[in-house]
Symmetry: C2
Subunit: 145 residues, 2 copies
DNA sequence: GGAAAAATGTAATGTTATTACATATTGGCC
DNA sequence: GGCCAATATGTAATAACATTACATTTTTCC
């Protein structure tokens, strides 16, 4: 049985990087959360087993994981979420629920190419396709109704 | 000649709100900047003529202007930009240059409806259509090349 | 002109993120 | 094994961003 952490490890190995113990812990917390976590929430969690953990500990590790595509930063929530689909490079679209702050990730939807073309028509070149779309997830629509 | 500030004033009047002196100053600074400004940059600018200005002064005013659609918050830059098109309600797409941090606003592009429909197909309802797309603006592409 | 609502002032604090430098760990090479 | 360089982590301080709570002033409207 291949766990998400195992996947992450081989994903990194393919790129010449290592899943160190610290990185493993951080990613593990994010995976367990099943949703976005704040940097300082992660810090508190880390400090349970690692008394010396400090902000740079967390931010450096997050920078690495985000750079490798294992974690996404959600700007509008100032939070971080484990990427559920890191078996391949992908273009993520984040659906951010404004009520519960849950995040669903849509992989490479069909309109991405249209979007890219129309943006390019203005002379602007998209680098990064992490779009955040805000709204209400299904559960919160039902709860609100 | 109808200045942007005059437009803003009548836009607010139509909605039963006022462009007070403080709001006018903040919006004026944002318009002059021709690009995104940080909250504390605005604060420093305000303090020139208003010694008592403090963080709440700025954040409250920005909240108001954002709420009225005269200003957009750019989450990825933690900055605020005057909206160039507040003559009508619109769906903004922000093209954020990763090099110069300039922001161009695209009004209601044609793929918006497709996007909305495809997102809706997942059970998620979009509330707010302020998308941020990161990349390189034309000028920075040329400078880099 | 007086009460209620809206806007602004003021002080303190909370939250998020970075800088700069020290130490430890790993991996290659002889 | 012993050394060097590169990578990773530890540590202290501080910078940058944002909110809370409450006081005061200004405006609105009867």
């Amino acid at each position: 049985m291949m766990t998400p952490l195992d996947h992450a490890e081989s994903w990194l190995a393919d790129r010449g990087e290592k899943l160190t113990e610290l990185r493993r812990e951080v990613l593990s917390h994010l995976l367990d959360a099943h949703g976005p976590m704040k940097a300082y929430e992660l810090l508190t969690a880390l400090q349970k087993g690692r008394p010396g953990a400090s902000p740079p500990t967390v931010y450096r590790t997050l920078d690495f994981l985000v750079g490798m595509g294992l974690v996404h930063r959600i700007d509008s929530l100032q939070s971080f979420v484990a990427c559920p689909i890191f078996h391949a490079p992908h273009q993520g679209v984040m659906l951010v629920c404004e009520r519960c702050h849950g995040v669903e990730e849509l992989e490479s939807p069909s309109w991405m190419e249209t979007l890219r073309n129309e943006v390019a028509a203005t002379g602007f070149v998209m680098n990064q396709h992490e779009l955040e779309i805000k709204g209400l997830c299904r559960a919160c629509q039902e709860a609100t109704a």
